[in-house]
Amino acid sequence: MNTKGLFAAGIISGFLGSASYAVECGPGGESIRILASDFPAIHAVVDSAEEKCADAAGEFTRNHTTEARQIMNAALTPNPAEYTSVIVANSTLTQLMNDGLVRPLNDLVARYGQNLPENLLIRIDDNIMAVAFMANAQHLFSRTDILEEAGIFEIPATYDEVIAAAKAIRAAGIMDYPIVMNLKTGWNVGESFNLVFLAHGGAFFKPGTAEPMINSAAGIAALETLKALAEYAHPDHLTHASNETQGIWEAGEAALGIMWGSRGAAILDDEGATREVTSNTVLSAAPSVKPGGVPGATLWWDGFTISKNVPDAAAEATFAALANALTPEMVAANNDDAVWLLEGFTPGPAAAGVAATAQGGAVPYPMIPQIGLMHNALGAELTDFLSGNESAEKALADAEAAYVTAAKEAGFLQ
């Protein structure tokens, strides 16, 4: 894992200031159409691409929508595709690749990507399928003032320490429910399981196959840990996703949180929370099982892809525009909107959690074709355990059975 050099590389290359970008927008008069998620960092990248290359292009349109994941496969299937590029993350790249809707970028990188560092090129075997530009991961948020009030002077680093700290806070009568986590039934609870499962060293599938193996010692241990954490989360935790957990945190009603790094900047800014909350919130690595172990997180990147079903010239123009967008100036102007993987990035307090999690050796969200089916099965079946209706073994067996049924239908298992 070459994650340690990742953030250092960003800083060092910033010092070198080697950036002498010649803007080359590729074939002129082409149509550039981008589909992307809707958050500030993605807007910044597309804005930058538009500024650099919209004049050279015949058409530059963009669709920022939180529903991008839902529409992208349908939008890229016809020839010519509706969009020339989709900005994706680990899991959504898999979703597009499963249907063969994105093209290998090797020749485009050779032509327009001289400034793109090697580690940002997402390779599947020898094919470059995407270019990453920012990172995200779940990690620990702590309120140091409340921890100190409960007699804890070090930020918890393991799950046991988190649970012990929560217990101390409750015992001290400060808060009944000091922990917040995204445990909403569906994708969120599935992802929360993934975090703890990976921290326990679990593997989702038998290597090289689509056979599930989550009903294992690691799976049971992960569920037990999750339940121990949930004991200290608000009784409504099965309805909490990112917006709710961020709200609880900003209202000062939680002291320990496992939330997305991308929420860090929003929590630390001067909107939505009192000074007491923001000045005492510390972002640190996701907890591990044992001291120094694998942090319980999945690393995510966001990056751009180029559609397969578009003319080569349009693909070239789109790639050139987006490759040109990733400049140190763009990063500097939007420094706190994301954990950029690009040169020019100065990691601030909002990026500390993601950086520490990556450096601690957390693993990336698996880029496996059938992971979406597994994630969905976990999301639907695990709440029975968390709400106390089922044993861990039964919930995991149910999740495996639900996955196997879906995987057979999708053709992954026969």
């Binding site: 997402i122 390779r123 599947i124 075997d125 569906g186 608000h234 969905n376 196997v404 999708a410």
Partner: protein, 343 residues
């Protein structure tokens, strides 16, 4: 009417019914009989900002070839209908053989996704439908007696729940029942339990969804019955009064029988609507405790990245069959009434 004339008269209706109702259902049914091709997996190495890992990916060319040979996928017959996500025939058989008590058997079956959703869907339908009819009738009778001046405003206010989009209405209620919301906090105060949460317990979640369902569909039955009340013949009511019937007696023996065809109509509509309950589950984030058949379809199509069309199709067909079973008694009754009147 001559047969020929009749044929030309109904032709446009028949054509559009075929196009917009029959064909989509047939297409959904056909899709439910197929599953995807085998996905040819190859072991690959994936590298990115966080290093390299060994992974698998789909061999697009090989899979594409399979897909071109048979564009619909692999024929699976009714296997999707009987798999674990639907009727779960094998699982129920095993549960029957393995369970020591009936309670254990019921628990095992209740844990299977389809039956779990069916349990909520049926409960919801069985409670909401009669409640909406009874309350709607009561409100209509009450409003009908009001003096003219306040009648108009009362009708308008009674219709309000129907004017709110279901998704928005349930979201508003969802925030109100939160521990920090006005209803949730009041309930905590009444029961003197600061940790009481409507969202955390299954029975309370079901109650909340059912109360919401009644609140939201009440105006539909109210306004239908209110319109019907305007057609109750005044001379019959007067005759009843002359015969010495009390207000209550003439309501039960004259007004309500007059409204019976409307009751059948409202029941039909409500059964169909309630059996497809969906929006409140999503906006109340109630998936942990209550799932409906429509929610399963939504989940199959939306949440797994690459949608499970066959599975969603099978659940849709099963939902249609469920609606037909529920409607049959009402339809038979209407048919009998129709025949009786015709002769």
């Amino acid at each position: 009417m001559k047969h020929r004339t009749f044929f030309w008269f109904v032709l446009p209706t028949l054509t559009s019914m075929l196009l917009f109702i029959a064909l989509p259902i047939v297409s959904v049914f056909v899709q439910s009989l197929f599953v995807e091709h085998e996905q040819v997996l190859v072991v690959s190495e994936s590298c990115g900002p966080f290093g390299c890992t060994e992974s698998t990916s789909i061999d697009i060319e090989a899979t594409e070839k399979l897909r071109e040979e048979k564009p619909l996928g692999q024929f699976n017959g009714f296997d999707t209908y009987i798999n674990r996500s639907h009727l779960a025939v094998a699982e129920i058989g095993a549960a029957w053989a393995d369970s020591a008590t009936f309670g254990e058997f019921r628990r095992t079956v209740g844990d299977l996704p389809f039956y779990r959703a069916l349990a909520f869907t049926l409960t919801y339908t069985a409670v909401v439908t009669p409640m909406v009819i009874l309350l709607g009738m009561a409100i209509a009778l009450g409003v009908n007696r009001l003096p003219g001046l306040i009648k108009g405003p009362s009708i308008f206010v009674s219709l309000l729940p129907f004017l709110v989009t279901p998704l928005v209405g349930s979201l508003i209620l969802f925030w109100m029942v939160d521990g920090d919301g006005v209803i949730g906090a009041t309930i905590q105060l009444i029961f003197d339990d600061p940790n009481l949460s409507l969202k955390a317990s299954a029975p309370l979640t079901w109650t909340m969804l059912i109360v919401y369902g009644i609140w939201h569909t009440l105006p539909f039955s109210f306004i239908t019955f209110y319109a019907g009340l305007q057609t109750v013949p005044g001379d019959v009511l007067e005759a009843a009064r002359v015969d010495g019937a009390t207000g209550w007696q003439s309501t039960i023996h004259v007004t309500v029988p007059h409204l019976m065809p409307l009751v059948a109509f409202v029941t039909l509509m409500l059964l169909m609507d309630n059996f497809r309950v969906f929006e409140p589950i999503v906006s109340f984030s109630a998936e942990a405790h209550a799932r409906s058949l429509s929610w399963i379809i939504f989940n199959d199509l939306r949440e797994s990245g690459n949608p499970l069309y066959g599975s969603a199709g099978a659940t849709s067909i099963l939902t249609i069959i469920g609606v037909i079973i529920l409607l049959t008694p009402v339809l038979i009754r209407t048919w009998r009434d129709f025949n009786r009147k015709a002769h």
